[in-house]
């Protein structure tokens, strides 16, 4: 199940949702808003998305992960809007009978999400400037 939301991500509820007696392993990954990037200080992040495509691509990632690994349950959630330091921007929760599959699937899901899902973050730096983050491009 995938979700794009403006509300805070309830990672405890997501984790509970994937727990099962059929599984010996649950892996949870959280992406959180970091203050320092090198020597630059972030005040907050803005996240924007193309919602229809973001949810469609997240659903495709779920389907592909389920083909690749014997997963029992899977939750993928991404928040958009303005996030403060420490806030959770993304959560990946997976369960499987054994831990190797849960770790591998969780790692693959967050890596692919960052490559293909149309969501963008905008840095709000402490010096008052803003900057869209576009990997491979200089400051925009």
């Amino acid at each position: 199940m995938v979700e794009l939301t403006r509300e805070p991500i309830d990672f405890a509820a997501l984790t509970e949702a994937v727990r099962s007696p059929a599984c010996g392993a649950v892996v949870l990954f959280l992406g959180t808003v970091r203050e320092m990037t090198g020597d630059k200080r972030t005040l907050r992040l803005g996240y924007d998305a193309y919602p229809a495509m973001a949810e469609a691509k997240m659903a495709e990632l779920e389907a592909e992960a389920r083909r690749r690994w014997p997963l029992h349950e899977l939750r993928l959630a991404h928040r958009v809007g303005t996030l403060e330091l420490g806030d959770i921007s993304v959560a990946v929760a997976v369960s499987s009978p054994h831990r190797a599959d849960a770790f591998d699937a969780g790692r693959w899901l967050i890596d692919r999400l960052k490559e293909v899902v149309p969501i963008w973050k905008q840095e709000h730096w402490a010096d008052g400037t803003t900057e869209w983050v576009h990997p491979g491009l200089g400051a925009s």
């Binding site: 193309y50 495509m53 691509k57 960052k114 293909v116 149309p118 963008w120 576009h134 925009s140």
Partner: protein, 91 residues
């Protein structure tokens, strides 16, 4: 070769922009006129001609039709609606 029939028509293409592309264009959408047989490659070039502020991003832009990525060879859809955005940075 492109036949005269397909080059005769002109279509209006509305491009929805996101993130730095939207900021540079100072608009959510840009509308350009293209030949009926145009592809995403033609649209990319037309965006640079019509919106000079997008030129630094042009070669990096991704395009989508509906909810699917559209490569340079993909024809402009009949709906005339296309999405364009710079590299993604979720997570």
């Amino acid at each position: 070769m492109t036949s005269p029939e397909t080059t005769a028509g002109i279509q209006s293409v509305t491009v929805r922009l996101f993130a730095a592309a939207r900021e540079r264009a100072a608009s959510d959408t840009v509308t350009v006129q293209l030949p009926a047989a145009a592809t995403i490659r033609d649209l990319r070039a037309a965006l640079g001609d019509n919106v000079p502020s997008l030129r630094p991003l042009l070669s990096h832009l991704f395009f989508a039709v509906g909810t699917d990525y559209a490569g340079d060879e993909v024809p402009i859809p009949e709906s005339g609606e296309v999405v364009a955005f710079p590299p993604v940075s979720g997570g």
